[in-house]
């Protein structure tokens, strides 16, 4: 018996709809479950006080500070390096064996488990360079971890800019650098921002690499050379040691809300910029 193409079409449409619905449901379920369990413990005190009894009581203030500082350092270091590399590979280096090797390398790095980066950061920053378990060591380690993502997305975004823009800019007597800063980068910005947001998301949620390099001190850090605990690490410790599931969910809820917030703000900033630019 032959199945009619129109019938196949109907079936395929249904299957595709079901897989989409399934994905959305799982996501919604996770968010709902964590918010349901976590929102009840969240109040101003939870946000603004330090933990007591290892986190059984009190708030998560130091962890919020840690969660802001570590990804911030990572982004400040990884963005210029990553975008710079992407510009060099796309605009200054002719496509060849070297660029293919570098691209292959970054892709492999992007797939390396974060705990390996943690070990690397521990050996290099904590021990060899003597930064100790600190915000600096953790931030630098996260920077290396998210670098491949930023390079890859920036490279793709830059490559997608039509050649004609570059051609015109050069034909009007612009230099290569003027062409890049005035035409290429502004047009490629949405793609670059996406990479940076992915990087922030990954570093905010990272645990393994952070425990290895920033430690898990519960004090409010006074300098970049102090150890600190991020929310993700706090959640991990609270849950694994069975200290307080309630506060663990509270931390997780804040983490999810924070990531959502970062995404919204970044997209808003980008749209404002794009509206101004075009």
């Amino acid at each position: 018996m032959k199945i009619k193409p129109a019938f196949t079409e109907q079936i395929v449409k249904k299957i595709l709809f079901i897989s989409t619905a399934f994905t959305v449901l799982i996501l919604l379920f996770i968010i709902f479950y964590i918010l349901k369990n976590g929102l009840s413990v969240i109040d101003l005190e939870f946000l603004l006080t330090s933990p007591k009894e290892l986190g059984r009581a009190g708030g998560i203030f130091p962890c919020i500070i840690g969660t802001i500082l570590l990804p911030l350092i990572a982004i400040i270091i990884a963005t210029p390096l990553g975008v710079g590399t992407a510009i060099y590979l796309t605009e200054y280096k002719r496509e060849g064996r070297l660029t293919r090797i570098i691209r292959f390398g970054t892709e492999c790095l992007a797939g390396v488990p974060s705990i390996i980066f943690g070990l690397f950061g521990f050996v290099l920053f904590v021990i060899y360079l003597g930064f100790g378990w600190s915000i600096l060591s953790g931030g630098l380690t996260l920077a290396f971890m998210i670098l491949p993502t930023i390079i890859r997305t920036s490279e793709e975004a830059i490559r997608a800019i039509p050649y004609s823009y570059r051609e015109v800019s050069l034909s009007l007597g612009g230099t290569k650098w003027q062409t890049i800063t005035r035409v290429v980068l502004p047009s490629a910005l949405p793609g670059i921002v996406t990479g940076v947001i992915l990087g922030i998301g990954r570093s905010v949620g990272e645990t393994a690499a952070v425990i290895f390099t920033a430690g898990s001190s519960l004090r409010v850090p006074a300098s970049l050379f102090d150890s600190c605990r991020t929310m993700a690490v706090h959640f991990y410790i609270l849950a694994r040691e069975g200290i307080s599931m309630e506060n663990a969910y509270g931390t997780a809820a804040i983490l999810i809300i924070a990531i959502l917030f970062i995404n919204l703000v970044s997209y808003w900033l980008m749209h404002r910029f794009m509206a101004k630019f075009s």
Partner: protein, 251 residues
């Protein structure tokens, strides 16, 4: 009349492919010179040797000389930025930047270091007046250039070239993306501009060459077969190959 651009024994290679064969040509100033011929005959390549945009492609090689105002533009002493300021180019498809009308026109002057707002305003206004855009666009300078119709965009591209103070305008099939009516407007514009500029236009369209140009060159397989006043090329071509092309027996 003195020639503005001189091509002496110009040969050009893409890798091993010889795209131009020993071209000799004297292009007169304040006139429109058209280059016609079938696709792949080397007319765009010829155009690009005049502002050295051909160099942006890998593996190209040039022999012979290109002189502008008597100076060899492939000389090591030549400042390529100054050259490209002097010789502006308009491309096949309107390629405005995704910027406002104002910023498109001001792009050239800005990258060349003009900072004063009043000065930029003046340049933008003059360039838009010269391309007959000012009346329509003077209240829409902040609008995105990409929101304009193709014909306006192409004229904006010409305005962008005028804004850098070019003396020579190279146009590479500037009307191929436009309809016949807007094409006529661009052609009229070019005729009005030749008073102050030297214009070289590559076109696929023989009628266009006949309508706008003072001189025409017919190219075939990298060779400049015939170069003369347009009226002579179209009424009494000397070469059999030119005659075949313009009478439509070939091409």
């Amino acid at each position: 009349m003195a020639s503005k651009i001189e091509l002496n024994n110009l040969t050009f290679y893409y890798g091993n492919f010889m795209a131009l064969k020993d071209v000799n040509m004297n292009i007169v100033g304040n006139a429109i010179t058209a280059l016609i011929g079938p696709s792949g005959c080397g007319k765009s390549t010829l155009l690009r040797t005049i502002n050295r945009t051909n160099e942006l492609i890998d593996g190209t090689r040039l022999e012979g000389k290109v002189l502008i105002d008597g100076k060899d533009i492939y000389d090591a002493q030549i400042d390529i930025i100054e050259l490209r300021k002097k010789v502006g180019m308009v491309f096949q498809r309107p390629n405005c930047f995704p910027l406002s009308v104002y910023d498109n026109v001001a792009y050239g002057p800005v990258v060349h270091g003009t900072k004063k707002k009043a000065e930029l305003d003046k340049i933008v206004e003059e360039s838009l007046i010269a391309t007959w855009l000012w009346d329509d666009l003077k209240d829409k300078l902040k609008r995105s250039a990409l929101s304009l119709s193709l014909d306006y965009q192409q004229r904006l591209c010409i305005a962008r070239v005028l804004a850098i103070g070019s003396e020579i305008i190279l146009l590479d099939e500037p009307c191929s993306a436009l309809d016949p009516i807007t094409t006529l407007r661009i052609e009229e514009l070019l005729v009005s501009l030749k008073e102050n500029y030297t214009i070289v236009i590559v076109t696929h369209n023989m009628q266009q060459a006949a309508r706008v140009s003072d001189y025409s060159g017919y190219m075939l397989l990298g060779e400049l077969v015939e170069f003369n006043q347009t009226s002579k090329i179209f009424t009494s071509p000397k070469d059999k190959r030119t005659e075949d092309y313009i009478t439509g027996r070939f091409g």
